[in-house]
């Protein structure tokens, strides 16, 4: 039994099969890249795992627990944390409150000083601890992304789902971001990351899964997958992301 098991997951939007019979697994502590051209179903798959959308059919299991059919909050409490492709922060809350909520309502149900400690620790990791008291509404886009990651980390998750978390960073920030994800990986966290930036994928993910038009077209070590003619033509056939 693998840590995360996705077994013939299907998501149908009316006539569109956004995720079509996708199966793959992640072992505990693995960092895997989820690749594919625009519209290939990556975000939809993340949504199925995190419960944002109900699967049309198929099974998703985390450490033996069936996630399919559970509500978003149950899945979160089972140890699944995520970020969003379009950043979502809580503008009327301070940074430390933004981050604390997953510590409070997540599976460890911290409260008071303990919740604060976890939140400050997470802010520290992403480099925002000096601004813990400011309102999230006042952050730049990049810092909002950092904040979102800190919120996911404060859940002390079993698995982290990143949806293009590195997109939009400048080269320095990108290097920092890559280093941060590497640190998380070294800490033993299991990560499934949707990513278009191939250099970052090569740097972080020993293995990738590739989707095209809802289907899984590759599941292999990164170098091999990226050289696969099917993968190359999927990327060249679709619009290539900047």
């Amino acid at each position: 039994m693998s840590f995360l098991e996705i077994d013939r997951a299907v998501k149908q939007f009316g006539g569109l099969r956004a995720v079509s019979d996708v199966s793959f697994t992640l072992e505990k502590g693995e960092v895997v890249g989820l690749l594919g051209p625009n519209g290939s179903g990556k975000t939809t798959l993340i949504n199925l795992v995190s419960g944002a959308l109900p699967a049309t059919s198929g099974d998703i299991r985390l450490d033996g627990l069936r996630l399919t059919g559970l509500s978003r909050d149950r899945i979160a409490r089972a140890g699944v944390a995520r970020t969003f492709q379009l950043v979502r922060t809580l503008p009327s809350l301070s940074l430390v409150e933004n981050v604390m909520i997953t510590a409070v309502f997540g599976r460890h149900a911290h409260w008071g000083a303990a919740a604060r400690r976890v939140a400050l620790g997470a802010l520290e990791m992403v480099g925002l601890s000096d601004r813990a008291g400011v309102a999230a509404a006042d952050l730049t886009y990049i810092d909002q992304k950092r904040l979102e990651l800190a919120r996911a980390l404060a859940a002390e998750p079993e698995i982290l789902l990143l949806d293009e978390w590195l997109a939009g960073l400048n080269p320095t920030e990108l290097a920092e971001g890559v280093a941060l994800i590497r640190t998380l990986h070294q800490g033993g966290l299991t990560i499934l990351m949707v990513e278009h930036i191939i250099d970052a994928v090569r740097a972080l993910c020993p293995r990738v899964v590739v989707m095209n038009s809802g289907e899984l077209i590759a599941d292999a070590p990164t170098d091999i997958a990226l050289a696969d003619p099917m993968v190359v033509s999927a990327y060249l056939g679709g619009e290539v992301d900047a």
Binding site: A76, A81, P91, L93, I101, T102, F105, R151
Partner: protein, 304 residues
Amino acid sequence: MSRIILPLIGLALLAIVPLIVTDYGLGLLIGAATYVTLASAWALFSGQTHYISLATVAFYGTGAYTVAVLNETLGYGAVLLCAALIGGTIALVVGLATLRLRGVYFVIFSFGLAELVRQLITWYEVNVTGTLGRYIFLDITTRQIYWQMLGLAAITIALTAWIHRSRLGMALRVIGDDETVAAHSGINLARVKLLAFVLSAVILTLAGAITSPRYVYVEPSIVFNPTISFLTVIMALLGGANRLWGPTLGAVPLFLIFEWLSSNFPDSYPILLGLLFIGVVFLVPNGLIASTERLLGKAKGARG
């Protein structure tokens, strides 16, 4: 410490005021206490979640009607208990069905709910019991009504203070900002919203029940008057619906202004009311407390 002591002293003072004021003054005090309760109870749910409810009068009226129907058969305590149970049950059922609605859909639904309850009771009274109006004869003095309402207002504010510091309060604030983030952070949206909605509704219902003997004669169009819902919203917004004392700060002056307007300008009262609503929304969109804080902050910034 002064956060607890000062309100307690205030409460004690307010409790002895009826011993020295005229009947008219006491009536004003009851009205003010009632609207403080309504606005605070409304804000308990709507202030943090931003679900703007116009159902206040559905619960308030239900409370008053429960007393009207049961006052001759049950003791007063039992009547209040029944009112609380009925209000809570309606909120539970309605909440289960509608708290998925967001924004303007929820506003319209909540308004419709109040109308629906009124029409149902009217229909029932006309077709089943054959009476439209009912009388409330209770052995209760005006002062006692005031003390009860003051107590309910105090409980509501204390409960709100406690909720603001609790997990429930934090969950409500997160829901107000972003429900998607709330759910993915482990918050059970349905449970949190229902809990706050039901708590709020029970208080609104009790307020209607406690104040009902003041009406003496009760019929649906009197106790289900939608103006009560609108007044409640505007009072809470004026003071600041997400602050502990915001609804109180909005309710007291607005209630006095409304009283003055309705007795001095009975004909143009609705127009003035409308203007006031618009004024509040345009001039203090975040409430008086937040606006004052911002002004003070600016003044400080300018000095420093």
